[in-house]
Amino acid sequence: MNKAVALLQEKFPEEVVEVVEFRGDTAIEVKPDRLVSICAALKDGHDTGFKYLSMIAGMDYSPASPRFGVVYNLYSHKHHDRITLKTRLADDLAPVIDSVAKVWSTANWHEREIYDMMGIRFNGHPDLRRILMPADWAGYPQRKDYPLRGQ
């Protein structure tokens, strides 16, 4: 079993929703409430050491509910190991999740991009504003209900 899965099942047994192993890749779905603690544990754990946050992706699963999700791709240089950490956000109208910018500072811009494109807000983010679109842009272009040619 992946060390990250073992760590989460030991420390956060209530939070783990699902673990999927597919051709050597591990994806863990967790509840969003204690995400920051989970990320910090994965980063600092001796057997995990996911010091590097490769990417954060915002997801729009429309028309499913919960509609929005956030996916974190982590990498451990120490163990040459990758995992995918997934969450689904409860609120379909005003999706919100805690920021992990204090755990990995690279999350700062990744989360701004997701806010810009998907309209997912990040609690505790140091500077949550649009990063790609003009500051006065209305709407969130990467949402599935956003028209391709703009509003």
């Binding site: 790609l132 679109m133 003009p134 272009p141 956003y146 028209p147 391709l148 040619r149 703009g150 509003q151």
Partner: protein, 172 residues
């Protein structure tokens, strides 16, 4: 040995307008402004194989205040549009605009919320160069077409300002 020998001690007469237009046509200074892959072709046009200096255009100006023509070379996103408008406004009259490539002409393949669907929604374009991207020969052909157009321009009118004003009134 020079051209003086053939001309002899003669007098050439022309109109001031023709002289000015001829001078303008042969010393168009482009604003240094590249946006996407078309800019690479524009740079090639300036390099030795195609040599834009043959048309008096080798002085790519980094300041729009010293430029006569702006070549919109590439995809214009809406976030970039205020900067382009500002560069264009800073150019002194008379000034010309070349829309280079499919994106600057019509938005090209980027039929999307983020991309301006043709620079002519904002700027008065004089010459459109099709292609994705156009080869340097294509850009040079467009430049020659602009030369023909400049030779026909009356040189003391406010044609460009009036044209821009008319477009703004239509848009408003």
């Amino acid at each position: 040995m020079g051209i003086e020998e053939h001309l002899g001690h003669n007098v050439l007469t022309t109109t001031l307008e023709k002289l000015v237009d001829w001078g303008r046509k042969n010393s168009l200074w482009p604003a240094t402004f590249g946006l996407a892959c078309c800019a690479i072709e524009m740079i090639c046009t300036a390099a030795n194989r195609w040599d834009i200096a043959r048309f008096g255009m080798e002085a790519f100006r980094a300041s729009p205040r010293q430029a006569d023509v702006i070549i919109i070379a590439g995809t214009v996103v809406k976030k970039m549009m205020p900067a382009i408008q500002r560069v264009y406004d800073q150019m002194s009259e008379p000034k010309w605009v070349i829309a280079m490539g499919a994106c600057a002409t019509s938005g090209g393949i980027f039929d999307s919320y983020a991309v301006v669907q043709g620079i002519d929604k904002y700027l008065p374009v004089d010459v459109y160069v099709p292609g994705c991207p156009p080869r340097p020969e294509g850009l040079l052909y467009g430049i020659l077409k602009l030369h023909e157009q400049i030779l026909r321009d009356p040189f003391l009118t406010q044609r460009y300002k009036e044209g821009l004003q008319a477009r703004r009134e239509v848009a408003a």
